[in-house]
Symmetry: C2
């Protein structure tokens, strides 16, 4: 497994592989890897000839009062996990390599970045689209894999790729959960045992919405009320949002006609957690 | 010579050429081709295995009161000229192909886009960086050629490519001029005979700055005054700017220490013309 920090060197390696006709799978991460990330890498391994994982805690997607400095950094463990999965390359640039002096070009994200996380975390998606665009140029993969746990991020990246004609296919992969339903997240490391229990409130709130939906309820307001009630009863402390919106555009809807998605962001202690569930007539979700 | 309108088809052709190890030269244009454009195509022909010219009047780089609707469109003549130069492919997408419904991702240009044209034409460079980034994804060339006539555009694109790690080399090529000094421009077609004479004011103003510079003058204010005087005396009607700035950052300077560039934008009749001249100790400019 090659571990490469320099963008030029990483680009040269990928180009070499691509020129031989190989399919390259790319898994961008911020490290602090868990089973969700490793599942993305395994899917890439199954579908591509070479698999590249990036580990970069991207400063431009953190707000001034967010957890950039305390974000977990576990490089040695991450590399061990990726070696087990037999990833071919890990790209580990420094912030100075990706944002040198004078850096000032950004990718302004599509309209689907405006609600939800866009409201709560101004500038977050601009940082995400910018770094992902950079990674897509440095590492011209065939397919890039992202988790559906960051549903809005996946939606934004898919639209960016379409709008800017990036020749990479973006695949969303199902959220990986603990046995009790908690979505795996690097930020779960912040939780103590008592908070870990309260963190289940997101899963239970999504299940409440799902049960209502499956019983025929299509009124978004009723679903959202149920989620908020469940969250607060089970110990979520500050709800940033608990919404049901159009699954493609993330726009507000009153009634579910087509596919919708329930999305939650809330705090447990100082830890901000997100989760989501697609509400669809098909059983595929 | 292949003439291809659809982005997917153009991408497939370029990818095919690249996979064979060929060097691809790209010349993005808005059509209404003149000797300046053809010189770019010839340089690409000399340096690359395949040369691709794009013809697309990009709506997102025109302001609401600018000349988008009356911008000259001369496709048949353009194709004839490119056939003579033996270009390999011409990419001629429609606005609907590059900006489909729901399009909403833009490339926010670097800081060098803020002064000069950025002040006079708000949003112009955002349109330029966005369409150029799209073209760079659709047509992953080895080298892209741009004229130095659009000096600030060239500066902005070079920085964008660096900031977003685009794996394409950007080459600036010297401005091609008529025998009397007028910089070739698609917009020169708008000029009647009397305006054509007054359009020379830009060239004479740049020469005035150059002569002062070569006589040892390094005070930017004096050079700018000389340019403005020359412009008005020779019939320029409205000066958007006549500035001498740092040649790399385009930032304001008082005294020329390193390399500087004199840049002019002004109107002759309803036609907005731009031109520039690098002021450098070397003789290469």
């Amino acid at each position: 497994m090659k571990v490469i920090a320099h963008p030029d060197e990483a680009h040269a390696q990928i180009s070499h592989w691509r020129n031989s006709g190989a399919r390259i799978g790319l898994v961008p991460t911020m490290g602090a890897l868990h089973e969700g990330h490793l599942t993305l890498a395994k899917r890439s391994k199954a579908e591509c000839d070479y698999t590249v994982v990036t580990i970069f805690v991207n400063p431009t997607q953190f707000g001034p009062n967010e957890d950039l400095s305390r974000y977990p950094r576990t490089l040695e463990a991450d590399l061990a996990g990726l070696r087990d999965v037999q990833v071919d390359m890990v790209f580990t640039p420094t912030p100075e390599m990706l944002y040198p002096a004078g850096f000032s070009t950004y990718v302004e994200p599509p309209a689907s970045a405006n609600p939800l996380e866009g409201q709560c975390r101004p500038g977050h998606f601009r940082g995400v689209t910018t770094v992902v665009m950079k990674l897509f140029q440095i590492l011209p993969a065939t397919i890039a894999y992202f988790g559906q746990k960051d549903y809005q991020q996946l939606t934004v990246i898919k639209r960016m790729v379409e709008d800017l004609n990036v020749p990479i296919r973006v695949e969303g992969c199902p959220t990986i959960r603990e046995s009790d339903g908690l979505a795996m997240s690097s930020r779960n490391r912040y939780l103590d045992a008592e908070q870990r229990q309260r963190a289940l409130s997101l899963w239970h709130a999504l299940q409440a919405a799902k049960q209502l939906y499956e019983s025929g309820e299509r009124n978004v307001h009723i679903l959202e009320q149920a989620m908020a009630r469940e969250l607060l009863q089970r110990g979520a402390e500050k709800i940033d949002y608990a919404r049901v919106v159009d699954s493609q555009t993330l726009e507000t809807i009153d009634t579910i006609d087509d596919e919708a998605v329930a999305l939650i962001a809330c705090f447990v202690g100082k830890t901000r957690l997100i989760d989501n569930l697609v509400l669809s007539n098909s059983d595929s979700h």
